[in-house]
Amino acid sequence: MSAVPYEAALVVAGILFVLGLAGLVARRNLLFVLVSLEIMINAAGLAFIAAGSRWAQPDGQVVFLFILAIAAAEVSVGLALLLQIKRHFKSLDSDAAGTMKG
């Protein structure tokens, strides 16, 4: 395991995270917003795994498991809300759902 540098994994996690952030801010379609969120969560999980392996402890993977549970819960509720928005606003454009302003 010593061959793989620890910092490289963190850098990859960082790259994936900012890519997900860029996608979150740039895309209007709510579905893509959720997808970007998943990417960001996954990147965070990667960071945890790398940290756990750094110390050869199981804690990193335990946290990754919890992250997984959270992601699952978030996706299901998010998709249900997405469906409600689609029904109410007749579109998935996040700007169209911007009635709470001012």
Binding site: Y6, L10, V18, L24, L31, E38, A50
Partner: protein, 177 residues
């Protein structure tokens, strides 16, 4: 460079490229497929980092359940029709701002990492058994909480996704026509 490192870097490249592609597609299904590729690549990275259980769970739960749920929802409720003209999503104007933002954040992260020096990973991979033992001894409270969270999510998803009117409170009910 050893084989493991090579595999790691290759998987990293695949993950980054497919993520870029995932966020820039116009069709949701295409984006989801690229997402799956990205997740699989990340699973490979987990394995090379010495976390086999995590790799397996990434594939089974993340790519195999969560993204599949996405695909089901897109398919069932016909959200495919949300494709827009390619130019609107891929124009430079749309991506300039978020791009700069992301670059700034990445730069900060690299700066912090650069200051920290270089370390090597631990000597051995962490087997699933150890993870399981840790999970149910040290982190058993977290497990219970995660279970409750999932229950709440199930109830919420069921309620929010139903076709009936959202509120049935007697005070908010409209008179039946």
């Amino acid at each position: 460079m050893s084989l493991l490192a090579l595999v790691f870097y290759a998987a990293a490249a695949v993950a980054v490229v497919s993520t870029v592609l995932a966020i820039s597609r116009s069709s949701p299904i295409h984006a989801l497929l690229y997402l799956i590729v990205s997740l699989l690549a990340v699973a490979v990275m987990f394995f090379t980092l010495g976390a086999p259980l995590a790799a397996a769970l990434e594939v089974i739960v993340y790519a195999g359940a969560i993204v599949v749920l996405f695909v089901f929802v897109v398919m069932m409720f016909d959200l495919q029709g949300e494709r827009t003209k390619r130019s609107a999503w891929t124009s430079l104007r749309t991506w300039a701002g978020p791009g700069v933002l992301s670059a700034v954040l990445l730069a900060e992260l690299l700066y912090v990492l650069a200051a920290g020096g270089s370390h090597a990973l631990g000597p051995r991979p962490v087997p699933p058994g150890e993870v399981g033992l840790s999970l149910f001894s040290t982190y058993v409270l977290g497990v219970e909480l995660a279970a409750m969270l999932l229950l709440a999510a199930v109830v919420a998803a069921f309620h929010l996704g139903s076709r009936k009117k959202a509120s049935h409170h007697r005070l908010f009910e409209e008179p039946t026509p």
